[in-house]
Each structure stands twice: as C-alpha cells, then as structure tokens.
Symmetry: C2
Subunit: 448 residues, 2 copies
C-alpha cells in the first residue's frame, strides 16, 4: 500500500485538474481495500467520479469496500445507468446490503436498469433476514455435476473462474441442484484426470441452512479451517456459500458487539461518522438504569443512618467493599462470557464452572479479606471492625465471583446474549448486595 | 460432525475391546477438528493409541488440533519412533509449537529420530520469538520460478500439492529465493497455458517480515481478504506464509486477551484444564491493586467525616455518583479500546475523539445530572443538595467520559496495550476523583 499522506493530497489535486484517465492510472496499482481507505474521507461526488474512472473490476471492488452509507451517497450522485452498471459488477452479497440500505425511491429508479439475471438474484437474496446465513452468503460459487471427469471439471473451472468468488472449493450437485458432494481443487489436482468427480469427491459435506444463525456458521468456517461453507435451502438444494473473509468479518463484528454490551456501551455505531448525540443516546439509557440501582444503594445507606453515624469507620470501608465485589464479579463474568463466545466453555460445563468458581472465589476472597481486615484493625485498632470487614469481604467476593460466572451461563441458557451481563451491571447489583451484607454483619459482630 | 453423545461412549467401548483397525474405521469419516473434540477428554495413553491407529494424514491432523499440553502428554506415552513419525507428518507451524512446549530431555530423545529435512526446518522456525510472524508461519507454500509457463506451473502444482498447505496462492521467486511476484491459481486458470508466469503474475506483492508483529499481520490478511500473506527475511527471501486460518486464530486470541485485560481478569489461561488456584492468582493481583485504590476513597471519606455526619444525605448519593462516573468512563473506554483494536479509530483521530467525547460526556452528564438533582430534591426537599448532586454528576460524568476515551489513546501512544485501561481500573480511579469533586462542591454550595 502506498503512503496515504502522499497519495491523498495527490489524489485531491488530480480531482481538481486531472482527467478520468489520469485518476485511473494513478490508483490502478493499489489494492481495492487501500483505495477505499484513500477515498472514504472524500465527498460523495468525488467518490462517484473516482469509482467510475477506475472502471471494472477495480472500481466496483473498491466501491464495495466502502461503508454502506457512503455507497448510498455516492450512488445518489451518479448517472443512473452508471450506478446500475456498477451494481451489476458488485459481489451479490455486498450488492444486497447496498440495496437494503437504499431509499425506496432510489431503489425503484435504479433497479429496472439492472440486468434481469442480477435482478432475480437480488430478489432471492434480499428475502433473507438480517443475522441469517442467507444475508451474508454469496451466490458466485463453483458447482458441477458428479459424472464429469476431473479433466472436464478443470476446464469448466477455467471457463467460469472470472465470475466466481472462489473456484478452490467445488460443490457437486445433482439434476435438482441438491448438494451431493464436495471436492477441493487441490484434491482434483491430486486425482487422475480421467477419474469422475463422484470418485474424487467427499459425499458427507459439512453444510448449513440459509436460515441458520450467521454467527454459528462463521464459527464453523473458523473452527474447521474452511475457505467456505456451502449453504442449502430446506430441500437440500445448494443456494450459496459463506466465504472465510465474510466469516471473519462476522466474528469481528460479534466480538465488537460483545465488548460493547459488556462495557454497557449500547449498540455498536461506527464511531467517526456518527454524531455525538447519537453516540450519547446509546450510552445514556444504561447509565440511567445503573443510576437507578445506585439509588437503591443510597436508600440502604439511608436506612442504616443511625448505625453508620454511631460507628463512622464503617463508612470508610464502603468503597473498598463495593469495589472488591464489583471487580471480582467483573473478572469472573469476563472469563465466562469470552469463554462462551470462543467455545472454550459451554453450557454443559456449567456444573464444573460453578464448583471451580466457588474455589476461585473463596481463594481470592480470603486473600482480599486478610488485606481488608488488617487495614480495618490498623485504622481503628478495633478487632470488631477487622472481623466485620474481613467476613464481609470473603463472603462478598466469593458470592460476586460465583454470580459473575453463573449469570452469563443463565442468560445463555435462556437464549439471551450472555454479554448483556455487563461489568457495570454486575458491579451495580453487587453494590447493593455488598452493602446489605456488610451492614448486617457489622450489626451482628459489633453489636450496634 | 457426528453426535458426541453417541460417538464418545462408543469410542470408549472400542478403546476397551476394539482393535486399532476398528478404531480407525470408526473415526475415519470424521473431520480432524471433531476427532480432536471427541478425544480431548481422554487419558494420554488413549489419545496416543487413537492417533496412531488413525494413521496419516488423519492421525497427525487430529493430533495437531489438540491443545499443546495434551500433545505433549500423548507424545510422552508413545513409542519414540511413532512419536517422531507423527511429528514429521505435522504442519511445520504446529510442530514447532509442540517442540517449544516439550520438556528438554524428551525433545532430546525424539528429535534425533526425525528426518533431517524436517529437523532443519524445526531449527529455522524455532528461532523466531513468540508474537512474531515467524512463530506462526508455515513453510509449506507453493513457489515457482518466473520463466515457467502457465502449463508447466500447473503440472508442478499437481506434483507438490500433497505436501502444501495451500496451492491456491503461488509465490514467484528468483534464483536466490527472493520474492518477485505472486499469482493466484484462479488467475493462472484465466491465463493462456503458453504464457509465462512472469506475465501472469503481479510483481508488487503485499508481504511481511518474519520479525513483524503477528497481530498486525493477521489484520492485513483479514482486511485484504487474503488466503495467505508471504513472509520474507531481511534479504527479501521468501521464508514462509501466514494462512487465513492461522490469522483468524491470532485475531481471536487477541480479542480474548483484550477482553481479559479489559475485565481486569489477568492473562488468559485455558479455563477448563487450569486449576482454580492458578485462575485465582491471575485475578487476585488486580483485585488487591484495585482494593488499594478503594482504600484511598475510604481515606477521603474519613477526612470529610465531620461534613458527612452533619449532612448525612450527602452519604446517600455517594454510590450513585461513583457508579455514574465509573460507568461513563467504562463506556467511553470500551468504545475507544475496541475501535483501536479493529482499526475503526486510530491515534491520528485523537483530537477528533477528544472533542467528540466532550460533547458526548456533556450530553449524558446533563441528562444524568437532571435525574440526580431531581432525586436529591425529592429526598430532602433541599435545593442545595439538588444543586450539589446535579453539578457533581455533570462534571464527573463529563470528566469520566473524556478520561475513559483519552487514557486508551495515551496508552497506545506509549506503545502499551490500550486494553490495560480496564473498566474496573477506570471506575476505581474515578471513584476517588468523584468523591473529592462531590464533597468540595457540597462544601461550596451548601456552605458546610
């Protein structure tokens, strides 16, 4: 990739006084991903001009690497025929994302200009719900019949290669397009040219349904080190493939959403192009909910006013007890939420996790309790306070650890997103519990 | 994949009374990933028996999908010659991970039995530091000379296919193994058979150094939708490739480490096989550090004892003020840490982020402050308390938001891991700040 700090100014200069030919030859050596990076900061009409100047295949390739909103804007300022041509050249999965994002009147203007074959494809793909395999699959796969020879298959692959996203995985179908087998190009290469595909292929093919959850499928592609996984409809007919790069994008977005939920930061919006008030709206809802839980803690302190004012040292330990509980809970939930996301742990391990976290919680609880009790004794020279703080910390930290581990499992069991058990949420709930436990232990131990 | 609840018991039965042939034919139809799942819970000697019974290539393929510790254990109970044979058949990148994990005496016993070619390869790969590209790359790539014809290249690929991890990307080298070009098998297919490789190839190849950071390289593979990226040494000589599946593993592990750091949960250890005391040790260090910060908050409360006991209502709002600051800081740092990890934002956006977060912080600060002030007024019917709580919340939340966004950028600038700015860490630091701000505002507004 070229140095953006050199390329961007030159490109802007060319946009002012250069011809389309000059723009094209300036960018021609660049990867579509880099071109998208260079032009993503430009105005819609500049983006449109560059994409059209580049021609096929680089123009559409760079165009579909842009964010969908930018594609919509650039398409809006293009001559309609050029826009339709551009969309014909896009990958089917990227194209359908764009069409879903187009304003209705604009879609109605541009769609009739797109060739019939692509239009049929769009109609098929657009029907799949977000979050399903159908919404990310591509239809540009290589498929052959089982009775072709290896040599015939290879020359068929040569013929169709320009139009396919990958020709390295070849899917074998019968007369009714039912998926009956799979062979990699590597295995074709190893087979004798005269052999039939049906002898070289593997007939037990790992496949997924178009209506399956796309995150599960992305994990299959990753775990099995696949280049792509075939997608079939209810009738077992091959309708598309999900490629490794789309699977990687799905997994990255999933990890981002998990982290956002986990940080109680709402839903993921693209940071730079989103205005601050939309960002604020994502965060403020959780902040108010968590403040409400904070009010409950406040009410508890209110209730115990007499006790706290009579032994004010109790107030001094509220922050550290709250912090220890919240942090221990956050740690445990981090470990379990991420473990569930990567498959390192699963629901069937729940009992094992429960016992393990009791031991972990007790261990760290005892260590933290000793530190807390020591500090309690040194501060006030009071054995009662030391015992109160120590007992509270061991029980709060143990409870927090177990709760932090169990809640995500419970959410998963209920088919909810385990990452919604956010760190701030656990910490806030534990604040309430810790306060009650602390003040009740104090009442019992110190007889106040 | 077969149903584990059926396959596992049958497999255990076969281990007791079956022959190696029966074990082999029972598992033969399964994917290596699934076989590894089935056998990962078994004893080392059972794993060894199954892997050897499977033979090549399925035995080594399944074996290298196991965790490294399990590989070490199983290798320890195998006849040495079988172990050496197994290691010869492993992928070079997986093999070197295993060798690094072997106890020294065991490595010394098994290494001399491995064929010379593989031993040279091991010596080369083992020299790369953890975290570098060299430590994850494989040497089983396809490379050809530039003056071969396309037809010659295709028959060369047929010949070497069985030994290569991928033949879909072909790297072109000169006499001294310098990387001079690249062509995909798909492009070879599109080219005329009589053309020379040098005419079909792209000579400006995206490549990386063996000493580069593996996480950066994994991101390159993902962003550019590559099947693999070529790795060169200082002299530009081709020494290996990093494949898309290894890149995906690197990115997954990176996301896991980020999340662990972010949850203040220490370093990532594999959950199920690790004993609870090792897990506890990872977490307790942070817990004590954060408790120490909690003690500072306690000291502040101690200092302001007279003020708090004279207007006890102040104590009631400490939890909600602390929670709001901590949560707002956590939200902002979540957004920025994840943005830095995925490349959605970068250090060059720092100023933009700073201004944006001031607006975001003020917006959510005002909303939360209104809620807090209202509650303050309703609880005590005191305008002074309402103003104190409101002013505190708007300033603490704004400050927390900006700090939460800026700290990860600062850490990144200092070449530290931004995710070390964990949610619990930010929350604890903000507790201290919030308390001071709160009590000083109270002193000024309420004249106490």
């Amino acid at each position: 990739m070229g140095d953006p700090s050199i390329i961007k100014p030159e490109l802007e200069q060319l946009l002012q006084d250069g011809t389309s030919e000059e723009i094209k030859s300036f960018l021609e050596g660049q990867h579509p991903y880099d071109i998208a990076e260079f032009i993503s900061g430009l105005e819609a009409n500049e983006i449109a001009r560059i994409v059209l100047a580049l021609g096929e295949p680089k123009g559409p390739d760079a165009f579909q690497k842009l964010e969908t909103e930018q594609q919509v804007d650039a398409l809006g300022v293009m001559p309609r025929r050029d826009g339709a041509r551009l969309m014909e050249a896009m990958d089917p999965d990227e194209r359908v994302d764009l069409i879903k994002a187009l304003p209705e009147d604009e879609a109605e203007r541009v769609l009739p200009l797109i060739a019939q074959a692509e239009r049929n494809e769009i109609a098929r793909l657009v029907s799949y719900d977000e979050g399903t395999v159908g919404s990310v699959m591509t239809t540009e796969y290589a498929a052959v019949k089982a009775d072709l020879t290896v040599a015939e298959t290879v020359s068929e692959l040569r013929r169709i290669a320009p139009d396919k996203e990958t020709i390295y995985y070849i899917y074998v179908i019968d007369e009714s397009r039912k998926l009956v087998g799979f062979v990699s190009l590597k295995n074709l290469f190893i087979s004798s040219s005269h052999a039939r595909v049906k002898d070289a292929m593997k007939s037990d093919v790992k496949h997924v349904l178009a209506t399956d959850d796309v995150e599960d499928v992305a994990k299959v592609v990753k775990d099995y080190d696949l280049l792509a996984v075939p997608v079939v409809d209810d009738g077992g007919r091959l309708v598309g493939i999900v490629t490794h790069d789309d699977a990687a994008d799905v997994l990255e977005e999933e990890a981002t959403e998990d982290m956002y939920h986990y940080g109680a930061a709402g839903e993921h919006l693209r940071y730079l192009p989103t205005n601050p008030f939309s960002l604020a709206r994502q965060r403020v809802v959780w902040l108010i909910l968590l403040a409400a839980v904070g009010f409950i803690s406040g009410t508890i302190i209110h209730r115990y006013e007499a006790m706290i004012t009579s032994v004010f040292a109790l107030a001094i330990f509220i922050p550290v007890i709250n912090a220890s509980g919240g942090n221990a809970g956050t740690q445990a939930s981090t470990v379990i939420i991420r473990g569930l996301a990567t498959g390192e742990v699963s629901l069937t391990d729940s009992l094992k996790i429960f016992w393990k976290e009791i031991v972990v919680g007790l261990t760290i609880g005892v260590v933290v309790a000793v530190v807390g009790a020591l500090r309690g004794y040194l501060l006030e020279n009071s054995i009662g306070l030391a015992i109160t703080v120590g007992l509270t910390m061991v029980s709060v930290v143990t409870f927090a650890t177990v709760l932090g581990a169990v809640l995500p499992l419970l959410f998963k069991k209920l088919r909810l997103d385990p990452a919604v058990v956010s760190g701030p949420f656990i910490a806030s709930v534990l604040d309430v519990v810790a306060l009650l436990v602390y003040l009740e232990i104090a009442r019992a131990v110190m007889r106040i």
